[in-house]
């Protein structure tokens, strides 16, 4: 060792509390004086369906033959009050995403793929486009706080109406759509000036609490002569109370969206710090329905971070009647892909990602409207990067894969109907997941909070 040189350190210690992510956040706040707005969902690690595993059949349970025996996936929603409940071929639905956040091409692709797979798709803030109505066999029409584009004619054209109280990415917050995406058509549909940064209300304009909501739901039923199922969608927070109040308000179907749920644009602080994980929400929602003796009478749709067939199967096993997918659908369409497919050839998109300060695999820049693969954009050039035909093909493949995985798991658990999956088919890999899902920790009989 040279005594004149300071000793070389073996490692540099990064602060846990002030790591590079937090330093970057503070630098950014100091530079702009404004919170970050971004798209997609929570990025932090959370207890999730990956923390559960299925107990496949063996000697104590008898499996179904995976490739031959029938496994039913038919799903019926809205049996409580609606004259015309919805019957879907699969329990996997497309979540509400607006025309405005997505291009008209994408909305059409969602409708085509959903129709081919026998499932439903959903409008979003901003109303119903003719393209999506035409391409969707089963279309759920959202009634949101902003009421942008909401009108009785489209409500009557819908197959179900979803009253949106909140969403998992931002329970308690309203939506936003930044100026770049308020194209002339979007502005016209929403009755807004072109190019403004649109803020959506977080409270409905004409009702305030569950007693009012009961009357509002009755109004929607009167409007549609009691034909259409009425869904109520809540962001997962006080799930038990909210589900019970939604039942009290007269919902046919309740949608519970966990904190992993995505958004086209909201404050990062909302995405990462408000709401509870989907895994915890499912169990609380099912418990609430069971306590009211409403399980099977009011259907439960779970959303927020449903990505794989295993996620679908686990949600159903915990008691959901169906799931709803938003972000997974976007990824199936090519979100965050390095290439896009246009005019019969693949083209690199890396430069366009770089232009908005990101890269494939990291992009959450839906809010900018400069989606390099043409999904979350209103730009006439960019939106051509995803044709309805190509989008529909990929989405159909994705939904098909999920459904095959779902039925494979159900058969392995000895179930001839995916709705027969049950909590008893599951164990947890972590103490947290065991406590939230209320299934035993693998290899034990222990459910935290419920004794031995």
């Amino acid at each position: 060792m040279n005594p004149t040189q300071p000793p070389t350190r073996l490692s540099h210690e990064e602060s846990w509390g002030y790591d590079r992510k937090i330093m970057d956040y503070i630098h950014n706040a100091a530079a702009h004086g404004l919170y970050e707005i971004r798209g997609l969902g929570a990025k932090r690690p959370l207890p999730h369906f990956d923390d559960l595993v299925f107990l496949g059949a063996s000697l104590s349970r008898y499996p179904l033959e995976g490739y031959r025996e029938k496994c039913v996936t038919t799903t019926v929603l809205g049996t409580r009050f609606a004259k015309k409940p919805i019957e879907l071929a699969i329990p996997i639905t497309i979540a509400g995403m607006s025309f405005g956040s997505l291009s008209a091409n994408v909305k059409e692709a969602l409708g085509r793929a959903a129709s081919e797979m026998g499932t439903s798709t959903t409008t979003g803030d901003g109303g119903m486009t003719p393209e999506e109505r035409q391409s969707s066999k089963t279309l759920v029409y959202q009634c949101l706080p902003s009421r942008y584009g909401f009108n009785p004619d489209d409500a009557r054209k819908a197959d179900a109406i979803e009253v949106v109280i909140g969403q998992g990415a931002k329970p308690g917050g309203g939506g936003m759509l930044l100026g770049q995406k308020i194209s002339p058509r979007v502005a016209q549909m929403r009755t807004l000036p072109e190019g403004i940064d649109q803020r959506s209300a977080c409270r409905h304009p004409d009702w305030t609490g569950p007693d009012d909501l009961a009357i509002k739901i009755q109004e929607l039923r009167e409007l549609t002569d009691w034909e259409k199922p009425i869904y109520v969608k809540v962001g997962a927070t006080r799930v038990s109370h909210d589900v019970k109040l939604a039942v009290h308000s007269g919902a046919d179907v309740i949608v519970v969206d966990g904190m992993q749920g995505g958004t086209a644009a909201t404050q990062t602080v909302f995405i990462e710090h408000v709401g509870i994980p989907t895994l915890a929400a499912v169990r609380q929602a099912v418990d609430a329905l069971e306590q009211l003796d409403m399980k099977g009478k009011v259907q439960l749709i779970v959303s927020g971070g449903i990505r794989t067939g295993a996620d679908v199967a686990k949600a159903l096993a915990l008691g959901a009647d169906a799931v709803s997918i938003g972000q997974g659908v976007l990824f199936a369409l090519g979100c965050n892909h390095e290439m896009y497919f246009q005019n019969g050839a693949h083209h690199a998109a890396a430069e366009d990602y770089a232009r908005i300060g990101t890269a494939p695999g990291y992009c959450h820049h839906c809010h900018t409207g400069f989606c390099p693969v043409g999904i979350t954009t209103q730009d006439p050039v960019l939106e051509q990067r995803l044709s309805p035909e190509v989008g529909a093909k990929h989405l159909r493949n994705y939904l098909k894969t999920l459904n095959m995985e779902l039925t494979t798991l159900a058969r392995a658990c000895g179930k001839q109907n995916v709705h027969h999956l049950e909590p008893e088919d599951l164990v947890a890999l972590t103490v947290e997941a065991a406590a939230m899902a209320r299934v035993p920790l693998a290899g034990t009989n222990w459910i935290p909070g419920h004794g031995l």
Binding site: L34, G179, T191, A201, K216, Q218, E219, L223
Partner: protein, 229 residues
């Protein structure tokens, strides 16, 4: 003119509304009387024909909600959300209106002869509202398009976060909401007020009204606006 009446003490509301929805073949301009409404909710919701509906008494929530084409008169007071999301036609409340009168109305004309409570004209999207009396706080919140004429006073936070709707007030304004401002009346404003007052059958001098519209300072995300959003 042909006329027909429904007594809500003996006819279920659902049956009456379903009848009004199907009533497109007979004389679409016939008069319908609704007797003994007794504050029932959702009377004459979702009409789509130019019927004249007379509600002879007080109506509950969402009377004439999402109305198209029809002329609905409430001979009494109206509950929350009267004529909410109206598309066209005319709805008149002879008495007072509760919260959120004319909320998110896209078109048509709502007339309230008495006062209207909180959030009158919230999220207005192109409809016109004339209130003979005063309006409560948060009226015109986030109103996007359309016109409101208030012949009495306005409560707190009038026109908060306004977009392109315009509010005319004859009396006192307790306070303006974020981004709302009082602007000088132009010739087109006097005309608009005069025309709407005439449609409502109210006799006030347009010269007495003030114009409240958006200062458009919140149209783009602005770090210096702090708590205004």
């Amino acid at each position: 003119m042909d006329s027909l009446s429904f007594d809500l003490r003996t006819t279920p509301l659902r049956e009456m509304n379903a009848f009004l929805h199907r009533h497109t073949d007979a004389d679409p301009t016939r008069e319908i009387a609704v007797l003994n409404p007794d504050g029932a909710h959702n009377i004459a919701v979702g009409l789509d024909v130019p019927l004249h509906v007379d509600i002879r008494g007080h109506a509950g929530y969402y009377a004439a909600g999402m109305n198209k084409l029809a002329h609905v008169t409430i001979h009494g007071n109206a509950g929350t959300g009267v004529a909410e999301n109206m598309m066209s036609g005319v709805v008149r409340v002879k008495g007072f209106a509760s919260n959120s009168a004319g909320a998110s109305a896209h078109g048509g004309l709502l007339i309230v002869d008495g006062d209207a409570s909180l959030r009158c004209g919230i999220s207005l999207k192109g409809g016109d509202i004339v209130v003979g009396g005063s309006v409560g706080s948060f009226s015109g919140f986030m109103a996007q398009a359309g016109r409101m004429v208030v012949c009495g006073d306005a409560g707190e936070a009038l026109g908060d976060s306004l977009y392109e709707a315009v509010i005319y007030v004859r009396g006192k304004i307790r306070s303006l909401g974020a981004d709302a401002q009082i602007e000088p009346m132009q010739e087109t404003d006097f005309q608009a007020v005069s025309e709407l007052l005439a449609q409502a059958g109210l006799n006030f001098d347009p010269e007495e009204f003030k114009r409240v519209a958006s200062a458009r300072q919140l149209y783009h995300w602005n770090a210096d606006a702090n708590q205004e959003y």
